[in-house]
């Protein structure tokens, strides 16, 4: 079994028990506890610097300023970088940026925010990171900025962003409160939903169709593993999914289908969170999922990260994957992989009640609460999440899965996506039910990493009920701490 962060690259930090990421997360967590215990956790909306901005809105208001951005290497970032010249022309603000790949990106961001003197005014983060960086007061509440017409251009159209995306970056940091309450600590910028992406050519040769129920999915994966090698795809297995011992294993396909089958992570009992990953429905689902991967998944599944899943689909080793929709999109572009042009999308199996609840990952943009260039940073953020840039990024770049409804409905965008079979049909089928399916809580990364560890144990043959009971006890202990 691998530990979280082992494949992050360089493990030579002299720590035998903790990975780099775990240590950084622990440090950030400690910071969160320390700050939360001694200070008001976040600035109140009425204290926001946004209230100092008056007069008519002007893009050139901060002309001559320079802001620093920390970016993660991503196709969405490529589209942003390609358009930065236009932003500077429009506003007179220069954007300097540092870019790091995802495996190291959050370590870098955590250190910067935790230093108390952040170098970066704006940065990329996921919605889950709001639960970690928000309570210690690292993030600026963007709601006062959005609501101030002197600071925000009249064409921004906040309501155009899908509601479930807007609320996902919103929380009041109170345990038990749902998302969508409290401040807006990040702006949705690009996202990915989770679907089945499959190799049409293989499906046609084997003579199968995407599954509509979870039991059908298990049978389909087994049939593909059995028949695909005979159809000219040696070493092909049935279904790909992430499997490393880290939170990212739980959040895509697993959490999506788990929720559709009726599973929950926590319940609120007497104002306290109670983990329920050992409920009867959870045990049954987890057992079946682990069995499906064991019978029809990749041989070294416990080492599988997102890029392994995508690579196997592109390399025609996996007949289908249950993961981020954009993962297949990038493999499907001409010249990108052996499976390019052969991929198609499907919403995945419905739950017993017809549920298409789907978990999502949102690349969001945040502002440091200690930035000294807040207005310039805000002008950048509203431009980067605005219609003008995002449409250009979707049409000229690969900023697919737009956060704005107007872009998804744009005919040019629809024409561009037509080469990806059922991509937009699938997107539209699940978008209303796509949201964050986890309960917000600051120890999200620790609890989901434990959950992934339990899943690995069940995959290895451990008893599902006993393992999940043990998981619940561990999480209860963590939450009590």
């Amino acid at each position: 079994m691998t530990r979280s962060g082992v494949r992050d690259g360089h493990g030579g930090f002299g720590l035998s028990r903790l990975s780099r990421r775990q240590l950084l997360e622990a440090m950030a967590g400690a910071g969160a506890v320390a700050v939360a215990g001694s200070l008001p956790r976040v600035a109140r909306a009425q204290d926001s610097e946004a209230n100092d901005v008056t007069g008519p809105f002007d893009w050139k208001r901060e002309s001559g300023k320079t802001i620093k951005a920390l970016l993660n290497t991503h196709p969405y970032t490529d589209a942003l970088k390609a358009d930065l010249g236009r932003f500077t022309e429009l506003t007179g603000i220069e954007v300097q940026y540092d870019e790091f790949p995802e495996n190291n990106y959050f370590d870098k961001l955590t250190v910067d925010l935790q230093s108390g003197q952040p170098t970066y005014d704006v940065f990329m983060l996921g919605a889950y990171m709001v639960w970690q960086y928000g309570p210690p007061g690292y993030l600026e509440d963007m709601l006062p900025w959005i609501q101030n017409p002197s600071a925000t251009n009249p064409e921004y159209d906040w309501e155009d962003i899908y509601p479930n995306l807007r609320t996902s970056d919103q929380w009041n940091f109170e345990i038990g409160s749902p998302l969508g309450t409290g401040g807006q600590y990040a702006l949705p910028w690009g996202f990915e939903t989770n679907t089945i992406t499959y190799n049409r050519e293989v499906f046609e040769k084997v003579g199968v169709k995407p599954a509509e129920t979870f039991d059908e999915l298990i049978e389909l994966a087994a049939a593909l593993k059995e028949k695909a090698p005979g159809a000219g795809y040696p070493d092909m297995y049935g279904i790909g999914a992430r499997g490393s011992r880290q939170w990212a294993t739980i959040h895509p396909g697993f959490m999506t289908q788990y929720s559709r089958e009726g599973g929950k992570d926590f319940e609120l009992v007497d104002g306290e969170l109670k983990p329920v990953m050992n409920s009867p429905v959870a045990v049954e689902f987890t057992q079946k999922w682990a069995q499906m991967i064991r019978d029809s998944g990749p041989a070294n599944w416990t080492n599988y990260f997102w890029y392994d899943v995508g690579s196997d689909l592109g390399g025609q080793k996996a007949a289908m994957i249950y993961d981020a929709d954009i993962l297949g999109f990038f493999q499907n572009q001409p010249g990108a992989s052996a499976a390019a042009g052969k991929l198609a999308w499907h919403p995945g199996p419905k739950g017993p009640d017809g549920s298409l609840a789907t978990n999502q990952w949102i690349w969001s943009l945040g502002m440091s609460a200690k930035s000294k260039n807040k207005l310039a940073a805000w002008i950048f953020l509203q431009w980067a999440t605005g219609k003008d840039h995002l449409l250009r990024a979707a049409l000229e770049g690969n900023h697919v899965d737009p956060v704005r409804r107007s872009i998804v409905e744009n005919p040019d965008f629809q024409a561009k996506m037509a080469n990806n079979a059922d991509y937009l049909t699938t997107f539209n089928a699940i978008i209303e039910e796509t949201k964050i399916l986890f309960t917000p809580q600051p120890r999200f990364f620790e609890t989901t990493t434990l959950w992934a560890g339990a899943l690995q144990q069940i995959y290895g043959g451990a008893d599902a009920q006993e393992t999940l009971d043990d998981l619940v006890s561990q999480i209860e202990e963590q939450l009590e701490e």
Binding site: P101, N104, V111, G315, Q316
Partner: protein, 302 residues
């Protein structure tokens, strides 16, 4: 005659081996030698396999990256992309390479400048606190780099050393200086003081004795310590990762950039890693002859 001679020698207490026995021994030795050679070859293949695999990976086109092991259409496109030849340079690898070269050479140079006299002093004189000072130097290597990284980050921001090559050269002293001092100290300790005393009797000053007598004799030590320090500096990750942005980034951090984005480009990462091997390899080959300790050691002992 031969048998009579053998019997005579045997009776005189001399062990005599017959021709048959000699043949047996020779065959046994040969078999053992073959077995050892085979073992060496097996280890050689085992040790070299990752490099061979990386080399093959670096020659694969993106579309054949995951679909084949050994049969593919080899291309140098990966190397071209990494070096930015014939197209837009997506990731400035050459700048990372140059940064690594400057900060590694700089760090070793500074460490030698400071560490050489320090190691000599630690080896020759016992002064108050010398052991504590020596241990303090070693303790730089005890603490995981992450334990000190956040305070260092804040300090570097305040004194404007963040994302500078000078800043890296400075912080790399935590890596290279203890190595240089501890390795060279043991070399100086091996060297008998009589050599320097003889030089002093001949009218050399202490500095002249150090430069003209001692220094040439510890050249193998200098080479070994310098090479090791260079390799450690070249391979450092945590410090350049946290203490640099885009300007002073080194190869260890920069090479990972090829794994980001929509599709991880292992072929480019492999090409970048192989290119990064070149400086330590050249350096190791160049100073190999110094690595064998000179015959001078022990020349005046006895």
């Amino acid at each position: 005659m031969a048998q009579t001679e053998a019997r005579r020698l045997q009776s005189a207490g001399v062990q005599v081996t017959t021709d048959a026995e000699t043949r047996q021994v020779t065959w046994g030795a040969r078999l053992l030698q073959w077995f050892l050679d085979l073992l060496t070859l097996a280890y050689f293949a085992f040790a070299l396999f990752p490099l061979v695999w990386m080399f093959l990976l670096s020659l694969k086109p993106q579309s054949e990256l995951y679909s084949t092991y050994f049969r593919f259409s080899p291309t140098l496109d990966g190397y071209r992309a990494v070096l930015g030849i014939g197209g837009t340079e997506e990731i400035p690898f050459l700048r990372f390479f140059f940064n690594s070269l400057v900060v590694s050479v700089g760090a070793v140079a500074v460490s030698l400048l400071v560490g050489l006299p320090a190691a000599y002093a630690f080896a020759r004189w016992k002064f108050r606190g010398s052991e504590s000072l020596l241990f303090t130097l070693l303790s730089f290597r005890f603490a995981p780099e992450l334990m000190v990284i956040v305070p260092l980050y804040v300090i570097y921001q305040r004194i404007h050393l963040f994302d500078t090559r000078l800043g890296l050269v400075w912080v790399y002293q935590l890596i290279t200086l203890p190595l240089i001092v501890w390795i060279l100290r043991s070399y100086f300790q091996d060297l008998t003081p009589e050599l320097e005393q003889a030089a002093l009797l001949d009218g050399y000053s202490r500095t002249q004795a150090f430069i003209k007598i001692v220094l040439p004799l510890v050249r193998p030590g200098l080479a070994a310590a310098g090479l090791l320090a260079f390799i450690f500096a070249w391979n450092a990750f945590a410090f350049p990762f946290v203490l640099t942005g885009s300007n002073a980034q080194t190869v260890t951090v920069g090479a990972l950039s090829f794994l980001g984005g929509a599709i991880p480009r292992y072929n480019l990462t492999a090409a970048a890693a192989l290119i990064s091997l070149v400086p330590p390899l050249i350096l190791a080959l160049f100073i190999q002859r110094f690595l064998v300790r000179g015959l001078t050691f022990g020349a005046v002992k006895g």
